[in-house]
């Protein structure tokens, strides 16, 4: 029986996954020393075993990265056979290229490191850019959770699925298929001098529509709040966001509430309890369980 190793899991996910996959559930012993260093220990023998680590990269991304580096290296030292990391939120994925000369490609650094530590398989949820996974040397899989999350929305011919920018179009298309609804997109402009973001809706009829805005993540909520105001101004009946990762940094909750947004539907990809007035979290374990079975790693 393979081992399901719970490191820093989204609440409940490690229980669900180990249960549905028939894994032997083991909690990594972990703590933080008074000096700020992290400590992990795998409390069972792992020699010759296949191991699935359930761990995510937010919040406190740097602590989470060091934890998983230590754990993977220890597992390999101790003779674990095939090591799979299920990491729903992959930190540093937004720095996927050199936007300015002299920058690191941070996601490359992270994935190169996990490769060097001999991680065999990596499963992530809606990584910011799928092409980033090229930097991982083992087998990798990017799970698109958005159609699954969007399926919680009641269907109807008043639905319109909208990508808040061109980058999110592929996601919007898949969600539209899942909801039997049409889709479209907005155009986002960032002023290169002031950094200010404006949204230019194309000729788009949203009057009396329930508009589903689809993106990989909401971070500080600025863009989503802006889009919501614009859509409501143009007569949308209701605006709902569907995102894989609801980071909700700083004043995001207040910002989104005051914009008129009804809900943010999201997956449980983060290591915190975070259902709020506006955020509705859905368990992705059933989806991830299927993916892990298909991958044949358990």
């Amino acid at each position: 029986m393979a081992i399901g190793l719970c490191l820093t899991s989204p609440p409940g996910m490690c229980d669900e996954l180990t249960e549905s996959l028939g894994l032997k559930k083991i909690n990594v012993e972990k703590k933080k020393f008074p000096d700020g260093e992290v400590y992990v220990r795998i409390p069972v023998p792992v020699a010759g075993e296949d191991v699935v680590i359930v761990h995510t990269g937010f919040p406190e991304q740097n602590d989470r990265l060091i934890e998983v580096m230590l754990t993977v290296d220890a597992l390999k030292d101790l003779g674990a056979e095939n090591v799979t990391l299920v990491m729903p939120y992959m930190p540093y994925a937004r720095q996927d290229r050199r936007f300015r000369e002299g920058e690191p490609i941070s996601i490359k650094t992270v994935l190169k490191t996990l490769s060097a530590l001999e991680l065999d398989n990596l499963v992530v949820v809606n990584i910011h850019k799928e092409y980033s996974l090229q930097y991982f040397e083992g087998t990798s899989k990017n799970v698109n959770a958005l159609p699954f999350i969007a399926s919680k929305i009641e269907k109807g011919n008043d639905l319109l699925v909208l990508a808040p920018d061109k980058g999110a179009v592929p996601y919007a298309r898949e969600v539209a298929i899942a909801l039997d609804a049409p889709w479209d997109y907005l155009e986002k402009f960032r002023d290169r001098v002031t950094g200010e973001v404006t949204i230019k809706p194309k000729e788009l009829d949203v009057k009396d529509k329930r508009v589903v805005v689809v993106d990989d993540m909401v971070s500080t909520g600025g863009t989503l709040a802006l889009a919501t105001r614009e859509l409501i101004k143009r007569g949308a009946k209701e605006v709902i966001a569907v995102v894989a990762h609801a980071l909700m940094i700083g004043e995001a909750e207040e910002k989104l509430k005051s914009s008129g947004l009804k809900k943010v539907l999201t997956g449980n990809t983060l290591a915190k309890e975070y259902s709020t007035d506006i955020v509705e979290v859905h368990d992705l374990s059933p989806l991830l369980s299927e993916v892990l079975k298909e991958l044949g790693v358990v």
Copy 2:
């Protein structure tokens, strides 16, 4: 002219080192995003250049590690030739072996990672155990700063150099040579059940002596405070500590003051300003500058 790249340097050290080595001083642009991720950028071309990074691993060790990983990877991507990291405080060095089955050898994970990112040379100051450097694949050098720091103490035939445990004996011996003084050691016992530390002084005459206690670091100050009380009880005229790294975690300052300790002399190995009533920080740049010249990396 090689580049001296200031990342998270102990205050002043990067200025001193780049000046004395004749390096072109460049500050890494860095910040922390609102979501907690770190950002670095090297604002000059580095293709074909030799680069010396000045960076240390305390406080906030995990942030410091991710920063240096990103920086080294970016430098190599951008074509830097020979990359040397001067990292006076090496985090995770105390987890230098598996104290219990199932633990990582954390310092190995860290050094394996820096090797995988193709760092060429590594210079550290009094790493907890020198044998840990075997895990780094490039050229490495452990600088013993203790004789240099101890040389700030006035010589005299009332001096006795003392290692607080057997592990610190090699350090005490070198400091004793630098001070023309005799040396000895204490024995430290840790109760395996309660974790309590007691010190058993051997038959040791410290009466009217100025006792110099030598160790690689002071962390929470517990052991050093215990040793100081014991020594004063036995008639020591004065107790001074010489350590490479004065982490001074939690109540260390108060603990050491109330034990009767006179001073902690230390090197500037940490990225903070930390001279206090009891801690006296000495600049190690002249020492490191000599080591870098000898290594031939600049």
